[in-house]
Symmetry: C2
Subunit: 339 residues, 2 copies
C-alpha cells in the first residue's frame, strides 16, 4: 500500500480538497449536523467508495473535530475475501486508523435462515458494524453510499412500488440505526477522481457486475438509459432527494405531535383529531401507529380500506393488518390493538 496517502486537507490538490469541503458542507449545512467531538466508524469494504470515504474523513478529521475508525467485515463468500481484508488493513495502517475486523460464515447463516446470500451478508455485516460501534464507543456508522447508489435506490423503489417521501431514496442520517451517509450527494465519478488523485489503490468487487442481482441490473441496464436521456440525471435525483427530505421532516413533525398524545400500549386516534386531518395526513398517521406496534408492513389498500370504513363511520368495524394488528372503529375514533 502507498504510504504517501493524504491525511490532511493541505495534502490534497485543489479539486480533491474541494470535494472534501463539499462533503463537509453537506453534513453541516444540508444535514445540519455537527460532528465535532464525535467518533465515526467507517464501514470499509476495500472498494473505491468506502476507501475514498476513509481518506476524505481522515482529511476532514482535524478541521471538523471528529475521530475516524474503521471496521471491515470479511464475508468469506468470494475468493478475494481474504485479500480484501488484507487490503483494508494495509489502507488503515497507511492512514494510522484503527481497524476492527470480523470473519463470518455467511453461507451457513444464509442456508440456515433460508435467506439469499446478499441479504444474509447485509444482515451479518450490519450486526457486526453495530456491535463494533458500541464496543469502541463510536457515535455513527459511516457508509460510502453515493449519488449513483441513491439513483439506483430510487429506481428500485419505483419498480417495487412505494409512497412518498420514501420514493426519494435512502436517508443520509438514520438516527435509529446510527448510520450516516455523507457521500449521498456525491457522484461515483467524483469519488473515482478523488481516489486517483490520492494515488489510492482499491479492490473491485466482481459481484457488482453479477446480473443475478436486481441492483446490478438497474445499475448496468436502466440507469445508463436514463442518463442518456438526461446527462444531469444524477442531479435530478439529488434534487428529488432533497425535496423528499423536506417533506419527510414535515410529516414527521405532524406525526410526532399526534403520537405524543397516544398511549403506546393501546394506541387510539381520536375522532376530533381525525376530523381535523386531511386524507394525506390520516393515511400517514395510520401507518405510523401501525409501525409503532411492531413488525408487519400495512399495504396501501389496507390503509385506504381503514379510512373508507372510518369515513363511513361503520361502528364496530374491524380492519385487519399484517402482524396480527387490528383497528376498530368506535364512535368516530380508531382503536388499535392485536388480534
Amino acid at each position: 500500500m502507498n504510504t504517501n496517502l493524504p491525511t490532511s486537507l493541505q495534502a490534497l490538490n485543489p479539486k480533491a480538497a474541494h470535494t472534501c469541503l463539499g462533503i463537509e458542507n453537506f453534513i453541516t449545512s444540508k444535514l445540519q449536523k455537527s460532528l465535532s467531538g464525535t467518533v465515526l466508524l467507517v464501514a470499509l469494504s476495500g472498494g473505491v467508495d468506502s476507501s475514498a470515504l476513509l481518506i476524505i474523513l481522515t482529511c476532514l478529521a482535524k478541521k471538523s473535530g471528529f475521530t475516524v475508525k474503521a471496521a471491515h467485515f470479511n464475508h468469506q463468500i468470494r475468493h478475494e475475501s481474504d485479500a480484501e481484508e488484507a487490503h483494508a488493513q494495509s489502507l488503515c495502517n497507511a492512514l494510522h486508523i484503527e481497524l476492527l475486523t470480523e470473519k463470518a460464515d455467511v453461507c451457513t447463516y444464509a442456508s440456515e435462515n433460508k435467506l439469499g446470500l446478499e441479504e444474509a451478508a447485509r444482515i451479518l455485516r450490519y450486526e457486526f458494524l453495530e456491535s463494533s460501534r458500541v464496543s469502541i464507543g463510536a457515535d455513527w456508522i459511516v457508509t460510502g453510499h453515493h449519488a449513483n447508489d441513491l439513483a439506483e435506490d430510487v429506481v428500485m423503489r419505483l419498480i417495487r412500488g412505494t409512497g412518498w417521501p420514501a420514493l426519494g431514496g435512502m436517508e443520509a442520517i438514520c438516527n435509529n440505526r446510527r448510520i450516516l451517509r455523507p457521500l449521498l450527494m456525491t457522484p461515483k465519478s467524483t469519488l473515482i477522481s478523488f481516489a486517483r488523485s490520492s494515488s489510492l489503490i482499491w479492490c473491485e468487487d466482481a459481484s457488482n457486475t453479477d446480473k443475478n442481482f436486481l441492483r446490478n441490473r438497474v445499475r448496468t441496464e436502466v440507469i445508463p438509459l436514463l442518463c442518456k436521456e438526461n446527462p444531469a440525471f444524477l442531479e435530478a435525483i439529488t434534487s428529488l432527494w432533497e425535496l423528499a427530505q423536506i417533506d419527510s421532516d414535515h410529516w414527521a413533525a405532524i406525526i410526532d405531535q399526534h403520537l405524543d398524545k397516544t398511549d403506546f400500549e393501546q394506541p387510539v386516534l381520536l375522532k376530533e383529531d381525525l376530523n381535523s386531518m386531511s386524507l394525506a395526513t390520516r393515511l400517514r398517521m395510520y401507518k405510523a401507529v401501525l409501525g409503532s406496534m411492531g413488525k408487519g408492513q400495512p399495504l396501501q389498500h389496507n390503509l385506504l380500506a381503514l379510512d373508507a370504513a372510518w369515513k363511513a363511520n361503520v361502528g364496530g368495524k374491524v380492519v385487519q393488518f399484517p402482524g396480527n394488528k387490528i383497528a376498530t372503529i368506535r364512535k368516530g375514533s380508531i382503536y388499535f390493538s392485536y388480534r
Copy 2:
C-alpha cells in the same frame, strides 16, 4: 367499418362489460365526479386507445346519464392522416356519434413558431379540441390516456426532474383545461382486449415507434426493463398516482386557504403565516404565489434561496425569479412583484 359495434352494456361480453364498469367506478368513486347530465367530447385519433374510449363511453352513456360527441384533428403530417380522418368518421357513423373535424397545416405552424412537429401538433390539437368543446357546449374533453401512458409520464418526469406530487404523473381531471382522463388506471392491454372483443378496427400510428421521440424511447426501451423486474409495475405506478392525488389535494387545500387572503395584484406572504409553516409548506406556497403571477417556472434552487434569505431575515433582500418576478423580504414578510 363494422356496423355491429356495441353501443350498450348489454351488447358486451361479461369481461368487456366489467372493463366499462371499472372505468365508471374510477370516475364516480376515485375521482368522485358525477357525469350525469354532462356532454363529453372524445378526442378521437382513430387509434385503439381513443377508439376503445369512444365505445366504452357510448356503452356507459345511458347508465351514467351523459352524452358522447367526438372530435378528430387531422394533423396532415403523415401519409395516413386523411385515411385516419375517414376511419374516425365511419367509426362515429357506426356508433351514431356526432363528429367534429378540422384539418390544420401543422408543418407551417411548427416552422413559423420554431416548434418541434410533435409540440406544434399538440398545441393546435388542443386549441381545436377546446374550441370544439365550447362550440358544442360540451363539459369535458375526454382523452384516451391509459395506465401505460401514465407510467411513461412518471418515468419521463423522473428523468427530467420534478417535485412531488408532480412525480406521480398527469392528472385524471384538469379543471382549468376541462380535460378528463377516465382510462388512466386501465392498462393498454385491457383496452386492446376490449377493442378485439368489440370487433373494433383501428389505425396504428406509425410515429408511435419513432425513436426520435423521448416518449417512444421510454415506452420501448425503459418501461419493458421495469416491467421485467416487476410484472405488476403498472399497478405500482397507479398506486403511486393515487397517493400523489391524495397529497395533491392536501397541498391544494393548504395553499388555497392562504392564497385566499392574498391580494393578487400585490401578493404578500405575511410573517405570522410564514412562521407557522414548515419548510415543505413554505416552498409550495412560494411556488403557488409565483405561479399565480404568470409565466415563468421557478427553479428549486431559486425557491430554496428565497427561503434561506427569509430565514436569515435579510431585510430588503431581493430574490429574482424567471418571468421578471421578484420577491422582497421586509420585516419577516415576503412581498412579490415584477421587476
